[in-house]
Amino acid sequence: MISFDGCRVVDLSPRIKARVHRVDGSIEEGTTDPYGKPWVMQEGRFPGDNSLFTLYSAPADDAVWHQERMTSHNGAHVQGGKGHIDHWPGMPANMQGVWEMPLETFVGPASVVSLDHLEPRADEQSARYPLGEGYKLTSQSGDLRGQEILPEHLASVEQGDILLMTSCYEGLQQPWLSASTVKWLIEDRQIRMLGLQATGVQWQYALKAEAPANSPIRRMLLGANVPIAHPLVNIDTLQQGRVFYFGMPLRTPKMEASFIRAMALEAPDA
């Protein structure tokens, strides 16, 4: 029988402590996900058996969250293109939702890439960095910026892999995913999913550019039906270059992104 006995289990989903409004009126404070989003709940009592439950919902006067509802993007989640960016000009018609993809998309051997060796540099390449300080959209030559991630940095990625990426850098010192490298990941490596640690890789840029130049990395990946899972944690603690990954969406068709519990398993014999 299939077994993971002896494997090292690594939780890749950030722990969020829910902020709970109890039935007695008390409030238990919570924490946020790596992007600063909370998880607010309201306790209720089920009269059928006197058990308790919690609703994923904030009361109107909650001090932390500004509205009753939160989205499916709170905490670790996986997103596809349909329902999420299919209203953008230039997206392909055959883009799928996460509910339409086979489960094997979200389960299987994964390549782990840590890019700690891509130290930020202050040279002429800095001008290519896709973000700038403050509200500037670009950087200047000589700014201290992360390096472009190139195919040669991803040589361990095998065809059909799930790819898990991170680095030890933050902000504008994070190495960045360029359109040409993502094209290579899609067409040459044919990755089936990309998982990203909360910080470590710069991939969300040109967010306000005019379509179809906006959000190039999201466009390319989701347009090629390569879902993106984020914000993950603990990728940096993985000790092996190849792991077995689980991070499946809920089975709720039409929901453009889904909460996930993501996990990696490291083999005992590797």
């Binding site: 029988m1 299939i2 077994s3 993971f4 494997c7 289990v9 939780d11 989903s13 950030p14 969020i16 829910a18 919570g30 998880w39 709940m41 209720g44 059928g48 058996d49 058990s51 308790l52 439950f53 919690t54 609703l55 994923y56 109107a60 009753e68 509802r69 989205t71 499916s72 905490g75 670790a76 999420h84 960016i85 953008w88 489960l103 389960v107 299987g108 051997p109 969300q204 306000k208 906006n214 959000s215 999201r218 190849r242 077995f244 689980f246 499946m248 969406p249 809920l250 089975r251 709720t252 068709p253 039409k254 929901m255 453009e256 992104a257 909460f259 996930i260 519990r261 083999a267 014999d269």
Partner: protein, 249 residues
């Protein structure tokens, strides 16, 4: 190079045991696309909203209280569709439950996957499930129960059988197909005689995952089973994607 262990795993057959719950979706233009309900009449409700940061569409989960007649409570609980639950925050308000009960978030991740025994009980139309019907259960198993029956024809878990599973067989997790199995009894009996399966499982820190689907499509008596809860502390029940992986035939 992929470890040999993972190469073999990749050849397994994944069987989705999760109930499909189609979202009731409100579009940006106000149109509403109907969804489905689970066997307990629970919906999944979302509404489109635009993320102003990048112009993507995201889904707000649930609905505002009092705005949708068929779901006036507004928010969605963790008990919609296939979900997993434990005692803390759920039934630890009941009397005469043991000390030391844990929440889902307190348990190691290894609790939620492993070797499972599949018990299809088609021969027990409208009968109690007794230990003698579960002879293939080994100590420490994840136990998946199902049958082809529904309504009053479903076999039910006797309270004594629930405690036998929990305390003698020390099962790791209980998964139940619904319809198929009536897994709880005496829900409105006075405490402490109410809901013996809840008491047996959550009192012994054994998670319950239900309603499951597709158990009848499994072809092997022993499978790898996985249903990971969300990593949210204080959420007493969470939605799951439950799967089995069968060996390559």
């Amino acid at each position: 190079m992929t470890p040999a262990m993972f190469e073999n795993l990749s050849k397994g057959k994944i069987v989705d045991l999760t109930v499909e719950l189609v979202s009731r979706l409100t579009r940006l233009d106000g149109t509403i696309e109907a969804g489905t309900r689970d066997v307990y009449n629970m919906p999944w409700i979302v509404e489109e909203t635009v993320n102003e940061r990048d112009g993507t569409i995201e889904h707000l989960v649930g609905t505002n209280k009092g705005t949708v007649a068929e779901w006036p409570i507004g928010g969605l609980s963790g008990h919609m569709g296939s979900h997993i639950q434990l005692g803390v925050g759920h039934n630890d308000n009941w009397t005469e439950l043991p000390d030391g009960m844990l929440g889902i978030w307190d348990m190691p991740l290894q609790t939620y996957f492993g070797e499972a025994v599949v018990c299809m009980l088609d021969h027990l139309k409208g009968q109690p499930i007794l230990p003698e019907h579960l002879a293939n259960v080994k100590e420490g198993d994840i136990v998946l129960l199902g049958s082809k029956w529904s309504g009053e024809d479903q076999p039910w878990i006797e309270g004594d059988t629930a405690f036998w599973l929990a305390e003698e067989k020390k099962i790791k997790m209980l998964g139940v197909a619904v319809p198929g199995i009536s897994w709880e009894t005496n829900t409105d009996a006075p405490e402490p005689n109410n809901s013996p399966t809840h008491r047996a499982m959550t009192g012994n820190n054994i998670p319950i995952v239900y309603p499951l689907d597709n158990l009848q499509t499994l072809t092997q008596e022993r499978v790898f089973f996985l249903s990971l809860p969300l990593n949210v502390e204080s959420m007493e029940g969470t939605w799951v994607r439950a799967i089995a992986i069968e060996d390559e035939a």
